[in-house]
Amino acid sequence: MQVSAILKDHFKSKTLGFYFTVAVILLSLVQLIVYIAAFTPVSWESYMHWSVILFSVLAIVSGAALSVSRFTAPWAPAAATLMEFLSFLMFMRYGYMYFSQIFFSGISLSLIMQMYYGYLVSILLYLLIFVLGVISMFLPQTKAKTKAKAKGKAHAAAGGKA
């Protein structure tokens, strides 16, 4: 009961920015799973690189860890997005030859649709993560404490319990 109350209180103090950050973290996790699933088969492993996984893991861990405390929460979206960006850069660094192959004769919608799901889904996820991450960076992660304190003081002055 106490735990659920704590959690309830915790989430009560969160704003929309926090949920954007959570979305970034969850999508990073999905991206990580997709990447591992798509690039571990032998025929694709030459495009796989440990650094992509490392930065994705760091994005998830740092985003989640920083979100816990209200003091570090404002840094959570930046850290998660930055790590995912590094992951994306490594993804492109070690996989760009695929694009030179598939778009050798020019870019068209049908070719894009024919892309290997590992690439198509990963790119879409990365883009979504970046958009959500950047938006989240400009949003407060928790409700302002000063207002809550002021409310409490006003309540106490009126004879209630703070």
């Binding site: 032998v42 694709w44 495009y47 590094l86 030859m97 950047v134 960076m137």
Partner: protein
């Protein structure tokens, strides 16, 4: 402060993004430096001339022309001559051709105003293509102007619609039906209706034979008449019957032969058929001359023209008819493309093209074998290999064959001299002056030994040919063809494992085509039309000789003396140790059992039959496949584990010093001076030479080895004459003389099948000289051509780049063209070596064939061009031989060099579509990658660490081959012992590096600004808190 915080936050995000993209993007573009240089035409080297150059003749290869305009004019002459001598008259009834002087014609189909001049892809070109109307009018014919204008005006509505990019282009047919064409125009009274039947082909995609986007192809078969074409031809017949015109003439404008099931159908009423291939920029003039009778046709088919493509058994195991879903597995998906790789089993063996049709025909007539099955020659073949009509008529007589014994003393081998007298019989039947092609075919005995040992024999094989001079009516010429006895050998893959002569009777015959040759031999065997022959043969044109079994005389290479034995066991599922159950399941086509071993990919209704051989994979296959990707070859035994000398200062040779001795004699490859020069190379020089071959060979400053331009052109050079001039690499005449036309491209040359169809070796030599001139003026030292893969199927995407279904015709034409180009200092890269005969799954597709098939058909054209033409280089195929990528298979050393005597280097095909480690490939004789990737380049560093002497010496030998090729080429024009070369950093490299620094600094400033704003905000809050 809030605003500062917001701005700095935005700046941090923005510059983080830019810096990240620039750092990673920079890494990628630096890895692909050569491609980017080409794109920007960025200067990469500067050649500082010898101060004493004026006193030295450094033009080692000189041009015969004074300007680009002159070169192109000469090119147009040869391009036109090729069409005039290669276009083949296949049908001519009712006096349809030649047209009378001043005859009027109506040109039908949108292709009449939009014909196909060439193919698409890396060997495609563009230019000012002369229209058919101009070609015909120049020849003295008159064209129905109203109809011409209608097609021109409606070209947007009707006509081919392109889809796809430069590579992988597909086209619809989308022609106008009879009803849709303007009535007044189409019914104008003329002498003849000419229907232009066009089909395109190109790199990256094969034509569809079945399924796919059927679009307007009717049943999905691109090489069959489309519904709109069928409608048009049937209506033309009605108009002919109504007297609108007297004849219907079809011009087949395609390098991929159209299925000719309609050609003798009375419903269509076609009187004449002229195959004109994809005829290039000026071929229309030649077509006009042929139609008007100014030139008598003398082309002969370089391929069998099928009446029904579904009766071609190669299609059981061809391209799109092979189901990927059935035989794809996880590990044979191409790693660079992610596409499923297909197995292409050459199950038909040697029986491809006329080797199938004529052999089965002979067996049908002879009736001496079981299970011949039903085979009606005329239902299968419309026109046989070698076929072609003329406006004249030639008779053959005085056929003589002389055997010239070889000599063990001087090492010469036995030869045969064959002569035949050709007479232009026009004096008696009213023909005109013309040329005739004499084709010499051999028939080897099909013996019990063959049946027991998996050897197959075609009823006839082309072994030589000759074209007469222009013969006036009534005049004669005796043509002489010399062949080697070696040409009568057979490769025994399973027992002797070398070339053998067998017990039995060998036949030599001079025929007008492959079918005529079989008929001659059948006549010599006492057969007549009464036995089922399609026509009587001429036994006077046949020479017979009995021979005894010999597995020794020809077991050594004619070029090098090296022993010849099996090198492709791993490509044959009957011999490959990892074949598993495929060994027992696979049955090659055999004339011992036609009925049981001939499979078709389609049925009579053009429905697909899953008759392809479905390879099942084994662990050994996977193991061998994975080895392709092993970075290097482990081995430290060469030279007792000692690495070569690097960076020696003992000598100070420059590459030019190794061009020739003082008396002008070329310095041989194995001269010891080469060792000194190779010792001078540093490790970095060696890696520099071997790490990039993307349309070039890399420069080496220390030995003044210039960068070369080696570019595309399987059927002739296609790049502008000033290609790479901005890079400071192009030292061709056009750039050096600042020719006003230097930005132009060479002439659009006709397809190579037209070159083959000329059967004219002298013309091929001059054609090669013309290509050499294009290269000399365009600064090209190497040409990615000629394309000498085999026309295994009419549906091959790149058939316009390749010559023929026959390796001897293709090899001899390519050999002469190679010699012609060598006179201008151009080295050729014969491509794509080998079994790369289809575009579908070309990237890494597993190709399987037995050694007899490989040596007698698919590798033979390369062998002839190398041994007889002196071709120095090849481009490896993207395919795999068995499961081994061509680059890591090893045949480049063991066969091309050791047996054929090839002296130059090998470049991979596009190394963005690879199937193995190119650094590993160096060990196997695959010297440079056609790519700019540094991916894998680190494998050279692995060699450098030590313990890889075998790889190090292979690298040295590869460098040797590149240098030896270049020093004998026109790349050395203008270079003397006093010349210096400075390699330059391209401008864009500096730009990218500077941008990286600038964004890095801006990022730091933004971060600092953001941090400052945070601190200030906090202080501000504290102050506020204090006050409260």
């Amino acid at each position: 402060m809030k605003a500062v915080k917001l701005i700095s936050k935005i700046c941090v995000i923005l510059f983080t993004f830019l810096f990240g993209v620039l750092v990673v993007g920079g890494t990628i573009v630096f890895e692909n430096e050569a491609a980017v240089n080409t794109f920007f035409n960025a200067q990469t080297q500067e050649v500082l001339p010898d101060p004493d150059a004026a006193s030295k003749d450094s033009e080692y290869f000189k041009t015969a022309f004074n300007s680009v305009a002159e070169v192109k004019a000469n090119g147009q002459v040869y391009a036109e001559t090729i069409v005039a001598e290669g276009a083949t008259l296949l049908k001519n009834q009712n006096g349809a051709l030649p047209l009378a002087a001043g005859a009027t014609v109506s040109l039908f189909s949108t292709s009449s105003v939009d014909p196909i001049a060439t193919g698409t892809g890396s060997s495609g070109s563009s230019g000012n293509v002369i229209s058919l109307k101009e070609g015909l009018e120049t020849a003295g014919l008159s064209v129905n102007e109203e109809l011409w204008m209608w097609y021109e005006d409606n070209l947007g509505t009707y006509g081919r619609v392109k889809s796809g990019g430069t590579v992988g282009t597909t086209w619809t047919i989308n022609d106008a039906t009879w009803e849709e064409v303007n009535t007044a125009a189409k019914t104008q009274q003329v002498d003849a209706a000419i229907f232009v039947l066009s089909r395109s082909g190109g790199e990256g995609i094969d034509s569809t034979i079945y399924g796919g986007d059927k679009g307007d192809f009717g049943d999905g078969n691109y090489l069959k008449l489309s519904p709109s074409e069928t409608d048009m031809l049937k209506n033309l017949k009605k108009q002919k019957d109504a007297g609108t015109f007297d004849h219907i003439i079809v011009l087949m404008n395609s390098a991929n032969q159209v299925q000719l099931d309609f050609i003798d159908d009375a419903e269509y009423g076609v009187d004449a058929l002229l195959w004109v291939g994809t005829y290039g920029e000026v071929g229309a003039y030649a077509i006009g001359d042929l139609l008007a009778g100014n030139v008598s046709p003398s082309g002969r088919l370089a391929d069998t023209f099928w009446r029904e493509h579904w009766l071609n058994p190669v299609h059981a195991n061809y391209a799109t008819l092979i189901d990927t879903t059935n035989n794809a597995s996880q590990w044979n998906t191409n790693s660079s493309t992610g596409q499923n790789v297909r197995d292409i089993v050459y199950q038909e063996g040697i029986y491809m093209g006329y080797r199938y049709t004529e052999t089965r025909y002979e067996d049908t007539v002879l009736k001496d074998k079981e299970n011949v099955g039903k085979f009606v020659y005329n239902d299968v073949v419309a026109y046989p290999f070698g076929y072609g009509l003329s406006y004249s008529h030639f008779t053959y007589s005085d056929f003589k064959v002389t055997r010239n014994a070889g000599s063990a003393v001087d090492g010469t081998e036995a030869t045969y001299t064959v002569s035949v007298k050709v007479t232009n019989a026009a004096a008696t039947d009213g023909g005109v002056s013309g040329k005739e092609v004499v084709q010499l075919y051999v028939q080897k005995p099909y013996t019990a030994y063959d049946r027991d040992n998996g050897i197959e024999k075609a009823s006839v094989e082309l072994v030589g040919f000759a074209k007469t001079d222009m013969l006036d009516p009534g005049s004669s010429q005796t043509v002489t063809i010399t062949i080697d006895e070696r040409d009568l050998t057979t490769y025994d893959s399973y027992k002797a494992k070398t070339y053998i002569i067998e017990d039995g009777t060998y036949y030599l015959t001079a025929g007008r085509d492959a079918h005529d040759a079989v008929n001659n031999i059948l006549a010599a065997k006492g057969k007549t039309v009464a036995d089922g022959m399609t026509a009587e043969g001429d036994q006077d044109m046949v020479y017979e000789e009995k021979k005894s079994f010999d597995a020794t005389t020809y077991s050594k290479s004619a070029a090098t003396g090296a022993p010849v034995t099996n090198k492709f066991d791993d490509v044959d599922l009957k011999l490959y140790e990892g074949a598993g159950d495929n060994k027992d399941r696979l049955t090659y086509m055999t004339r011992s059992n036609w009925e049981g071993t001939v499979f078709f990919g389609l049925d009579e209704a053009n429905n697909r039959k899953d008759t392809f051989f479905n390879v099942t994979y084994t662990d050994k296959m996977e193991e061998d496949f994975d080895e392709n990707w092993s970075p290097v070859v482990e081995g430290n035994t060469s030279h007792d584990g000692q690495y070569p000398t690097y960076g020696s200062k003992a000598t100070t040779y420059k590459l030019i010093d190794l061009r020739a001795f003082e008396d002008g004699t070329p310095i041989p490859y194995d001269n010891e001076i080469w060792d000194d020069l190779l010792d001078q190379l540093t490790w970095e020089d060696t890696v520099q030479l071997l790490s990039c071959g993307f349309r070039k060979t890399n420069p080496v400053q220390s030995i003044v080895k210039p960068e070369t331009i080696d570019h595309n052109g399987a059927s002739g050079p296609v790049q502008p004459y000033n290609e790479n001039s901005g890079a400071g690499v192009n030292r061709g005449y056009a750039v050096r003389t600042e020719d006003p036309d230097r930005s132009q491209r060479p002439v659009v040359y006709p397809c190579n099948a037209l070159v083959a169809s000329t059967f004219n070796l002298e013309l091929a030599d001059y054609y090669g000289r013309q290509w050499g001139e294009d290269c000399l003026w365009g600064g090209l030292s190497g040409l990615y051509g000629m394309g000498i893969n085999t026309h295994r199927s009419p549906y091959g995407g790149r058939n316009f780049e390749y010559y023929s279904e026959d390796p001897v015709l293709m090899g001899q034409i390519a050999a002469e063209t190679t010699k012609g180009m060598a006179t201008r200092g151009v080295y050729v890269y014969l491509k794509h070596c080998f079994l790369n005969d289809q575009e579908t799954a070309r990237c890494g597709g597993f190709t399987w064939a037995n050694e007899q098939t490989i040596r007698e058909v698919y590798l033979k054209s390369f062998q002839i061009a190398i041994e007889d033409g002196g071709a120095q280089c090849v481009m490896g195929g993207l395919n795999s031989l068995g499961v081994k990528w061509t680059g890591t298979h090893g045949f480049m050393n063991t066969v091309l060099r050791d047996e054929f005597g090839m002296s130059g280097h090998v470049v991979t095909d596009s190394y963005s579509c690879y199937n193995g480690s190119y650094v590993r490939g160096v060990y196997y004789g695959n010297d440079i990658p056609d790519g700019t990737l540094n991916t894998g380049k680190e494998n050279f560093d692995y060699v450098k660490e030590g313990g890889h002497a075998d790889m190090a010496w292979a690298m040295r030998e590869a460098a040797h081959r590149v240098l030896y090729t270049v020093v004998q080429s026109n790349a050395m024009n203008g270079i003397t012992s006093g010349t210096r070369i400075i390699t330059l950093t391209p401008w864009w490299v500096d730009l990218v590096k500077n941008l990286q620094v600038i964004t890095g600094v801006l990022l730091c400033v933004s971060v600092a600004g953001f941090a400052f704003s945070l601190v200030m905000t906090r202080n501000s809050l504290r102050k506020k808190g204090g006050r409260q």
